[in-house]
């Protein structure tokens, strides 16, 4: 099929690409940009492993035609750690076991990142609601919730963790 030029803004960088109109953002991120942190876990758009942030909102990249998202600011898991410092959520997931196999983790963290920005001190039920579009098959969610609580503490204390130090 014909490729068409598109321009995507991902993790603060602009990419000029040429892709067919039927390419999903998920595929373009993984195949064309090498940003493989965004995962594909299903074909019926049920799992949430492909979650990215679009203008700060978590959305599923397996449903998004890449060409339709040219004007948006897209953040993937690779864009979360800044200047070699992990986001508190990333540290929390490491320290509290939120990532077992890690396949749901990028999506979980991004969904959570967006949610905590709106509600920095959520109750457990609120967190469960917020994460209810991201499936995890490993943890039973208990350590994911613990990881988020740890992240909230870390953010509150302003403790920063370098990627290399964990």
């Amino acid at each position: 099929m014909n490729k068409e030029p598109i321009r995507l803004r991902v993790n603060g960088r602009v990419h000029e690409l040429s892709v067919p109109p039927n390419k999903l953002l998920l595929e373009v991120l993984r195949d064309d940009l090498g940003l493989t942190g965004t995962k594909c876990g299903c074909d019926d758009s049920s799992c949430g492993a492909c979650t990215v942030l679009v203008n700060g909102e978590p959305q599923m990249s397996c449903l998004m035609l890449a060409a339709s998202y040219q004007d948006e600011e897209i953040t993937t898991i690779e864009g979360l750690a800044k200047n070699g410092e992990l986001d508190p959520l990333q540290t929390g997931f490491c320290e509290e076991g939120g990532a077992q196999c890690g396949f749901c983790t990028p999506g979980m963290i991004l969904t959570c990142k967006s949610y905590l920005e709106k509600n920095p001190d959520p109750t457990e039920q609120e967190l469960r609601e917020a994460l209810s579009g991201n499936l995890c098959r490993c943890t039973g969610y208990t350590q994911i919730l613990a990881s988020i609580r740890r992240a909230i503490e870390l953010a509150r204390e302003g403790r920063k963790v370098e990627v290399s130090k964990l």
Binding site: L35, G37, A81, Q90
Partner: protein
């Protein structure tokens, strides 16, 4: 050991930063220049003879680089030596909807999919065998010619004398339990990347729990020498047994790569994952148990039928586990087991978390509560009265050394306020208890040999670098981290100092893989062995320099010194340099093989079930039942797990929680729904693993029975908790509303039906 031993520390998984940053690579994240996309053509029929396959049109499609069918690769394989009944592509028959018929490698996925549509296959449709109980009565059109009546395997065990046992009993009951088929649903769909080098050697990156077996099977089916095959396991997005044997795509990718002369990647769709399956079979358990008035067990007789699907897979092991591990929980004087592994025209079942034990345990623990209810005994008490007196050997020859089950029971009784709640909660609310156990690795390998079950190499660099080489497969359970902790503890260094190279058959020694919860126990022991040797060498070298015998040295605060004279001292790196002498580095190979005493009896089938150690779990579940809708809400689960020793409590808790949660899924909402051999719910939308919203809080309690043979006392942690959750929930439903549900999953409809029947019964 230094003061800050990493044993028992909540160490983050060593690959966790890779996972949270998206840097870590899973198989589908990998690509090589010129990688082609592979796609597999599947059978649309449950049972049919292949009359002809015409691939010419597909081969002519521009962009198609290779097409392969069964005639190219007729070598049979299978995970069990006695179950070599699969070929890469169907040779003469297809045996389930989804069976593998042909494959295409092409420049793009679109082209490959298009090419599949151009392959013409003529089938002669055969009668399909879909229900296990009927399949085993079949007289013709057997799924495999050499398996009459579609019985893959049957076992008949009798230990003690059940007739005598039942005669002694004051109460005997017989119940039938039916557990639906479930699947692993690991979030990462299987993926394989295969590449041939110009010298004809093959490298395969794959989402496998068993790199070593995969290497062997690739060599056998592609008819290559083993030394020309290299298997590398990248990060894995969950396994749970679904990746614990060779999966068709792994071989198909290699075949296509050879034909195309280019790297080929195949990643399954969710539906294909369901066809590859190897999940937990539908299991029918007919269980008869006799007890004395006080609840003491006198005899157990189980007839178990497993609907195994179209190929053997692990089936022989699965059916044996279901019978063998009726034992080693409680003291049962007489046990009889009739097990049937039946073939049907559906995807093959295989090993899934809690392999073979789960449905039998569900039946047993539920029936135990039924008995307790009739006899008016507290479910906690009936369990106490039947405990093993460990150390002991069970009637079927299983050796039990450490036995933390009694403590598990007491801990959940206490935490759950059992006495205050049981039978005292308002109608509709209930509390239930159950137990389970599991092996810490099988004492006998799948392929019998004298080779150790695992070898771990540890190198000491002259600069003090410590590197572990292990073939063990980390699949998200944290086994790499545990190995690092064990090495660090034994060498007295910070765990961050230990590098790990894992699961690359060209670089790491042989380990049999991640299945039957063997890694911490076995690879852990081998790591300990290697680290011990290294430590002795370091002590010897330091002793030589300090002019003291090594037993008079201490290793503390990062330095070696004489026991009663802290100065002079030798730091770790210096000791390494001294020990290395003229060498660049020193290598120590640690091994582990289970002791002969743990390898079980001599009867047919005795090889499955024995383990060097068993983990134990006791659980309490609290539920709310809406009696009008039949909906069950699980409010809370407390799970005490005897893991011997929690080398890493963080990951042990994670494993216990994950097991309990997966068991809960099977208990209340997961089910593979079949209609005429067709899977009605092949995606994650319809195969409903739980979301955060219906997942209850799970409270793990770690019990440490310190197994005498486990590394630092450790045993299994990743599977054993699963089985207890199912009966705990069902027993809680009984406490809540007074009905027994004997068929899984517990749908609201089944609850309603049971309530209606109960109403009818009591109004008579």
């Amino acid at each position: 050991m230094s003061a800050t031993s990493p044993i028992g520390a909540r160490v983050p998984m060593i690959d966790s930063v890779d996972k949270v940053t998206g840097r870590g690579k899973y198989t589908d994240d990998l690509t090589l220049p010129g990688t082609l996309v592979g796609k597999i053509l599947h059978s649309p029929h449950a049972h049919a003879r292949i009359l002809s396959i015409d691939t010419t049109a597909a081969e002519r499609l521009p962009g198609v680089k290779a097409v392969a069918t069964g005639k190219d690769t007729p070598v049979k394989y299978g995970i069990l030596p006695i179950g070599h009944d699969e070929t890469i592509f169907a040779v003469d028959k297809v045996r389930y909807i989804g069976d593998n018929v042909a494959a295409v490698a092409a420049d793009t996925a679109e082209i490959a999919e298009g090419a599949l549509g151009l392959i013409k296959v003529d089938y002669e449709v055969l009668p399909a065998h879909l229900d296990p109980e009927r399949s085993m009565q079949a007289e013709s059109d057997f799924i495999h010619e050499d398996k009459p009546h579609n019985i893959e395997k049957e076992y008949h065990h009798h230990f003690g004398d059940v007739e005598v046992g039942f005669a002694k009993a004051d109460y005997v009951r017989d119940d039938r339990f039916d557990c639906a088929e479930v699947t692993h649903a690991a979030l990462e769909p299987h993926s394989t990347l295969a590449n041939f080098d110009p010298d004809g050697s093959l490298t395969v990156w794959s989402s496998t729990q068993v790199p070593y077996y995969l290497m062997k099977t690739l060599a056998a089916t592609l008819e290559m020498p083993e030394e020309k095959v290299r298997v590398i396991k990248p990060l894995i997005g969950g396994g749970f047994g679904g990746k614990s044997e060779v999966i068709p795509l792994e071989l198909a990718a290699a075949v296509l790569a050879r034909r195309a002369g280019a790297p080929v990647k195949i990643t399954y769709s969710r539906e294909e994952v369901a066809y590859a399956h190897r999940g937990r079979p539908r299991t029918i358990v007919e269980l008869k148990t006799g007890v004395k008035r006080d609840g003491r067990l006198t005899a157990v007789e189980a007839r178990i039928i497993q609907d195994g699907g179209a190929y053997c897979s692990y089936g022989v092991v699965t059916i044996l586990y279901s019978g063998q591990l009726l034992n080693a929980m409680y003291d049962i004087p007489n046990v009889m087991f009739d097990g049937y592994r039946v073939l049907t025209n559906k995807p093959a079942c295989g090993a899934m978390r809690g392999h073979g034990t789960v449905n039998a345990r569900f039946a047993f623990e539920t029936q135990l509560d039924m008995i307790a209810a009739v006899l008016g005994i507290d479910p906690a008490e009936i369990r106490r009265r039947n405990l093993l007196k460990a150390p002991c050997r069970t009637i079927n020859g299983l050796r039990v050394l450490s036995y933390g089950y009694p403590e598990c029971l007491e801990r959940v009784i206490e935490r759950s306020e059992w006495r205050a709640k049981r039978r005292k909660l308002p109608f509709g609310k209930g509390i239930g208890m159950a137990g389970s156990h599991y092996v810490s690795g099988a004492a006998n390998p799948i392929i019998r040999s004298l080779m150790p079950h695992t070898t771990v190499e540890l190198t000491l660099g002259r600069d003090g670098a410590v590197t572990l080489y292990t073939g063990a497969a980390e699949i998200g359970q944290g086994s790499d981290t545990v190995q690092v902790q064990i090495a660090a503890a034994e060498l007295g260094v910070d765990w961050k100092q230990v590098k790990l190279v894992a699961a690359d058959t060209a670089r790491t020694p042989i380990d049999l893989g991640s299945y039957s919860s063997r890694v911490t126990f076995m690879a852990g022991n081998a790591t300990l062995d290697a680290a011990r040797q290294a430590r002795e060498r370091l002590l010897a070298a330091a002793g030589l320099a300090l002019g003291a015998e090594s037993e008079n040295l201490v290793w503390k605060d990062g330095v070696f010194a004489r026991r009663n004279n802290p100065r002079p001292s030798i730091p770790f790196a210096e000791a390494c340099r001294l020990a290395c002498g003229a060498e660049e580095s020193l290598k120590f190979a640690g091994t582990y093989s289970p002791p002969p005493e743990a390898q079980g009896g001599k009867y047919r089938g005795a090889g499955v079930g024995p383990s060097p150690a068993y983990s134990y779990s006791a659980q309490v579940a609290e539920v709310t039942v809406d009696v009008e809708t039949g909906q069950v809400t699980v409010e809370r689960i407390i799970a005490a797990h005897d893991c011997g020793k929690a080398i890493n409590p963080l990951t042990v808790e994670g494993q216990v929680e994950g097991s309990v949660w997966m068991g809960l899924g099977q208990a209340v909402q997961e089910e593979m729904v079949w209609e005429k051999g067709r899977l009605m719910n092949p995606g994650l939308l319809e195969y409903r693993t739980a979301s955060t919203l219906e997942s209850p809080p799970i409270e793990p309690i770690l019990v440490e029975s310190n197994d005498p043979e486990g590394p630092f006392g450790a045993k299994e942690a990743g599977e054993g908790s699963l089985a207890a959750t199912l009966p705990a929930v069902v027993n809680a439903i009984y406490d809540a509303v007074g009905v027994w549900i004997t068929s899984l999953p517990v749908t609201p409809e089944k609850v309603l039906r049971a309530l209606e029947e109960e109403k009818r019964r009591t109004s008579l």
